[in-house]
Symmetry: C2
Subunit: 270 residues, 2 copies
C-alpha cells in the first residue's frame, strides 16, 4: 500500500539503505516480509545495505541479529563500526578514549585503534568518543572534561536522546555530548544519523551515487533527515516511530511514504 | 589603589554584596584586609551581605568559614540556601528531587521542603534541583530524565562550569543542566550568579534598592554580570579570577575596578 501521492518505482534505483529498528525489526522480532523484500531486491541486482545508529554491539553481535537475512557482513553497518572507521581514516592507530561498552571497544580495536578507558586522571589521547555508556559516572565526566581541555577531538557516535526499553526510556549519548560541549567549548563531530556521515559511507561501500540511492527509515528526524542530507531519495515506512500525522506536521518531507518495506516491491511490481 | 578611571566613593551606597572566593577568601585563607573592610563598612552604617554560588555546604558549614568575620548568619547566603528559599516561596512543602550533597539536602529540609533521592525509578516530585553531585551516575541521569518528562520543574543552583581544585578542575552543575535540558526540552531556572535571583534576594534582605547596592566580585561572567542584571553598581576586584586584561577584552564592563576589597574604603577615605 502506497500512502503517498506519487508511485514509488524501485527499478529506478541502484541501492537501498535500510534503517534497522522499526523498519526490518521491532525489538528482536523481524517485521513481516522484511527478509523477502531484501531477497527480492538483491535478486533484481540491487545493492542493499543496513545502517543503524546502534553503538552498543560489535559487528559480530550485530550480524547475529541478521543471521536469517540474505546479507553479507559488509552489508551491515552500525554507528560503532562507522565511528571507528571514521577515526581510523583521519588518524590511523590513534589513541581513543571512549564512553561506551564492549561493542565500541571491539570496533576500535578491529580498526587498529587503541581504546583507552576514561578515568579521573586520563592518559594522553587523540580522540574522545561518546557512545551509550551505562557505566557513566562523575569520575568519567571529570576525565572526559580534562581530555577535551587538553585538545582531544570529540566524536559522538550519534545524538540519540533516549532509547525505548521495556522498563522505560533510558538516555542516549546526546545529552552527555551537549554537556561536554558546554563544559569545554569543543564541538562534537557526529557520526550517526541524522548527519550524512554514515550514509556517505554506505554509498561508497555500495559503489553508487547519492542519486542512485534510497534511504528507507521509520524516523523523520533521524533517517529521513540523514537521507536528505546525503542527497538520496527518501522513503518513510510506518512500521516504527513516525505516523502519517507526524509527516503532515513535519517540515521534513520524505519523497515517499509506504506502509512497510514490502510495499517497496509491491509498488515496483504493479 | 584604584585602577579604574573613575573614583569609587563608598559613601554613596547603602549596601555591599560581596562574592566570597577570590574576594574575601583564597581557598581557606582570608584575603588581607577583608575582615577589616567589612568591619569598617558596618561601622559606617552600611549593610553588608556575602553571596556565593557554592551549593555544597549547608548554612552552618558555610558560616563556620566566616567565624572570624563581623557577620551575622543572616548576612551570609549561598546558592544552596537561595535555591531552597526560592522553591519554598513558589511551592511550600514541595517534594524536591536533588542531585547534590548533604548541604543541599539540609537547606531543603530547613525550608520545610521534602528532599527526595534521584533513583532510576523515582517517585513523584514537584522539582528537580541540580547542584554539585560527585555521586552522579547513569542511574541518576536516567531518573532525572524521567522526573522531568513527567513534568517536574528544573532548577539549577548555578551554571558553574568547573571548580578549581588542587588536583585539577572538576565539573560543576552547568553541563549536566544542559544535558537534561537537551534530553527533555525542559528549560532550567538558574538561581546562582550570573542570573539576578540571588542578588535580588540580597537586596530584599538588606532592605535597599538596586541603585543603593554595590556588587563586589572577582568574576566578570558571574559576579559582574549578576550585579548588572540586578541593576546594581558593580566593582571588580583583582584578587581572584579576572585580570585587567580580561576586563579590557570583555564586553562586560564593571563600573569600577579595584586592586582588592581594602581599596573600597581607601577610596572612600581619600
Amino acid at each position: 500500500m502506497n500512502v503517498s501521492q506519487t508511485r514509488f518505482d524501485f527499478r529506478r534505483y541502484a541501492g537501498f539503505v535500510f534503517d534497522v529498528d522499526g523498519v526490518l525489526f521491532r525489538g528482536e522480532e523481524i517485521i513481516d516480509g522484511a527478509r523477502e523484500t531484501l531477497r527480492y531486491l538483491k535478486a533484481q541486482g540491487k545493492k542493499v545495505f543496513c545502517l543503524s545508529n546502534n553503538s552498543r554491539n560489535d559487528r559480530y553481535q550485530y550480524a547475529e541479529k541478521f543471521r536469517s537475512f540474505p546479507l553479507e557482513p559488509e552489508e551491515l553497518f552500525h554507528a560503532a563500526r562507522g565511528t571507528a572507521e571514521y577515526i581510523a581514516s583521519l588518524h590511523p592507530r590513534a589513541r581513543v578514549a571512549f564512553l561506551g561498552g564492549e561493542g565500541l571497544r571491539t570496533e576500535l580495536q578491529l580498526h587498529d585503534l587503541t581504546p583507552v578507558e576514561v578515568t579521573v586522571n586520563p592518559p594522553e589521547v587523540d580522540f574522545l568518543v561518546v557512545g551509550h555508556d551505562p557505566e557513566f559516572d562523575y569520575a568519567k565526566l571529570t576525565g572526559a572534561v580534562r581530555i577535551l581541555r587538553r585538545g582531544a577531538r570529540l566524536i559522538a557516535v550519534n545524538m540519540d536522546r533516549v532509547f525505548p526499553q521495556a522498563e522505560g526510556d533510558i538516555p542516549g549519548p546526546a545529552g552527555l555530548v551537549k554537556a561536554l560541549e558546554y563544559y569545554t567549548g569543543v564541538q562534537a563531530t557526529v557520526i550517526g544519523k541524522p548527519t550524512p556521515t554514515l550514509a556517505h559511507l554506505a554509498l561508497r561501500k555500495m559503489g553508487i551515487s547519492a542519486e542512485e540511492g534510497v534511504m528507507v527509515g521509520d524516523s523523520l528526524l533521524s533517517d529521513i533527515a540523514c537521507g536528505k542530507a546525503a542527497g538520496m531519495t527518501t522513503v518513510l515506512v510506518l512500521t516504527g516511530e513516525a505516523s502519517l500525522e507526524d509527516v503532515e506536521r513535519s517540515s521534513l518531507r520524505p519523497d515517499f511514504v509506504l506502509q512497510d518495506v514490502t510495499a517497496l516491491i509491491e509498488e515496483g511490481e504493479t
